[in-house]
């Protein structure tokens, strides 16, 4: 009988977990990849003007407001995923939801393709790597099961595989806000909690230090 109760409780716990909504619903299957490859940056540029994207993200995809994200040079696949997530309310942002809700996949792909063609922002300040940052960026922290930032975002912070964003030159405030949002569970569109786990383990000081590191530009010799 006791065994039955255990089994019942186990199933009762498992079923809601299995029914949980996925944190994102963008599958990069062959039709999606084809869509991204055939996207038209010129149409994306026209759509960006019409949608007044520059109001927050700047004329050339580099925002004046440190709270907003620089989107110039962002990989098309990453940008497309974010736009889809805003549209599906997988990433909570009322303004972006309004902007994207009436756009179809092809238009979202065009927008992503347009911003991918722009030159990423190049802040004046050069990057310095403290021992603390070096450890986190290059080695991670095995004791906290924290993998190195460079594993996903690349050794120079220029981004990794198709859904890992570039961080170099991003606004520091924005980076702090996002890591904090992942930490607090306010942003949840990272599949399999990849970034949520990392952010939860980081301290406030580490978030600040890492954001500062990635917001600065790479010295020429790096």
């Amino acid at each position: 009988m006791l065994r039955l109760i255990f089994v019942f409780c186990g199933v009762a716990l498992l079923v809601p977990a299995a029914n949980a909504e996925p944190s994102s619903a963008v599958a990069f299957d062959l039709p999606t990849l084809k869509l991204l490859k055939s996207a038209d940056p010129a149409k994306g540029e026209a759509l960006a003007k019409k949608s007044k994207c520059a109001k927050c993200h700047g004329d050339d995809g580099v925002s004046d407001d440190p709270d907003d994200v620089n989107i110039a040079g962002m990989s098309a696949s990453y940008a497309f995923k974010q736009l889809k997530d805003f549209q599906a309310k997988k990433r909570d942002d009322k303004d972006m939801y309004k902007k994207t809700k009436k756009l179809d996949d092809s238009q979202l792909a065009d927008l992503a393709a347009w911003y991918a063609t722009l030159e990423p922002s190049r802040p004046a300040a050069d990057r310095t790597m403290t021992a603390e940052v070096r450890k986190l960026v290059i080695h991670g922290d095995p004791e906290r099961l924290l993998k190195a930032c460079s594993a996903c975002h690349g050794s120079k912070g220029r981004g990794g595989q198709f859904d890992h964003p570039a961080l170099t030159g991003q606004n520091k405030t924005y980076l702090v806000d996002m890591m904090t949002a992942f930490q607090d569970g306010d942003r949840t569109n990272d599949i399999y909690s990849r970034m949520r786990y990392v952010s939860e383990v980081l301290t406030e000081q580490e978030i600040e230090a890492l954001a500062g590191y990635y917001a600065a530009d790479l010295p020429e010799e790096e």
Partner: protein
Amino acid sequence: MYKNNATSLGLANMWVAFVFFAVAALLGLYQVIERMDIIPGLKSPELYFASVSTHGVLMGFVLTTFFVMGFGYYAATTSLKQEIWSSPFAWFGFWLSLLGVLLAAVPLLTGNASVLYTFYPPLKAHPAFYIGAALLVIGSWVWCLQMVMMMRVWKKANPGETVPLVMYGTVANAILWFITSLGVASEILFQLIPWSLGIIDTVDVGLARTLFSWTLHAIVYFWLFPAYIALYTLVPKAAGGYVFSDQMGRVAFILLLVFSVPIGMHHLYMDPFQAAGWKFLHMTGTFMVSVPTLLTGFTVIASLEVAGRLRGGKGLFGWIGALPWNNPIVLAAILALLMLTFGGFGGMINASYSMNAMVHNTQWITGHFHLIFAGTVVIMYFGIAYYLWPKMTGKVLYSTKLALTQLWFWFIGMLVLTLPWHQLGLAGQPRRISSTPYDDLLVQSWIPAEIAMIAGGVILFTAALMLVYNLLKTHGNAQAESNLEVEYAESLHSTVRMPALLNSFGFWVVLIVVYMIASYGYPILQFFMMETFGTVPWSI
């Protein structure tokens, strides 16, 4: 898109594979009809055994070797973004292998090599069969060398970088094939060719069977590797997800490499010339091979679950329905996994020293290897072909609908054919027989299963023709394919640096050599050490 010099080489290899596959499928259809004795005009043990031998050689050695080479060349160049190490040498290997096949075909088709596609004396074939087989193996070694050298050149040019998973698996297979083919190559070169040419009068059957067992099991993994590689690197991406763990794939490839070669003696459980202890050792190793298969099952299903959920699948099993079943390579993977599950259970029984005695040399064995090889492995070859054909030919797949129907036909046909074979085996029907003219009562009880066998054969032959037709029409399609990039799956969890043991093979090759010496050293040496006696002539 990266343009490479492997496209025509890959296509040439794969076309040879599939053309001979179609011929072998026709022979298979004849065999199931002949075996049941329903058409008296077809009855001919000579023709049957010549057909079985040709069917087995074409399916087991020609389809597989050429497919593995073609896929390997194309995967290597597209994943490393690097030219073939030596294109003329690679073509030489291709032509040498093809020459070997054509040479072996002559005695096979004329009934002079009806040795059941095995290398088990005292069955003796015409020398041309053995010479042809040797040329095929030597030609495939060229491919092995090319793969190893390509990885070496790439690592030198990209120090510290992780070898792409698809290439890592391909090189693992090249090493596996080279090591495992040494057994049959030694047997052919030093025993069977001299014997068949009349240079030596007798052949040590025990030694020959032991050397063949060296090759006989791992060859199955040589065939299986492309299927596993595709399951890890092509299918998750085609389904819209990620490979759940890149490292798990590497561990599975290494375990397959290390454990599949030194375990071949489970094919000799009933043979008298090896002691029970050696058989037990090999049995233990055989069970270890189930570990990488289970790892693969877990990782691939987890990868598919990620994809299914990203596609909006919900609930415990909702993700399965959300997968792109209308994508041929994804459908092939799902059906392959199903057949692997059925076949895997059967394999555990075959591997068990005690349970093997129940099914040894019965139709159960035929059912098992058809389910695993012709089922799981070959359906993945189809899936890979449907995926790569448009990229290699630059033409849109002629008919996706036909491809999907063909895959379902193959899956259903294989179950209809092989599940009754398992049942027949348990009912005591022997394998390697051309007819069953004995014990009326017993034979009558086999009839329903044998009718199913014929139905399965018809469905499978139809599916084989559908495949070749679709590939042929694709090759001649006027519509150009827009996406020529081969999309390999990214890992769900990235790593900065892959541990050296999962990014190289030196240590593992040494380990295999040690393991091989331990498991085959004495069993082979004993034939050279023990005193043996010739047969006693009748006249004494």
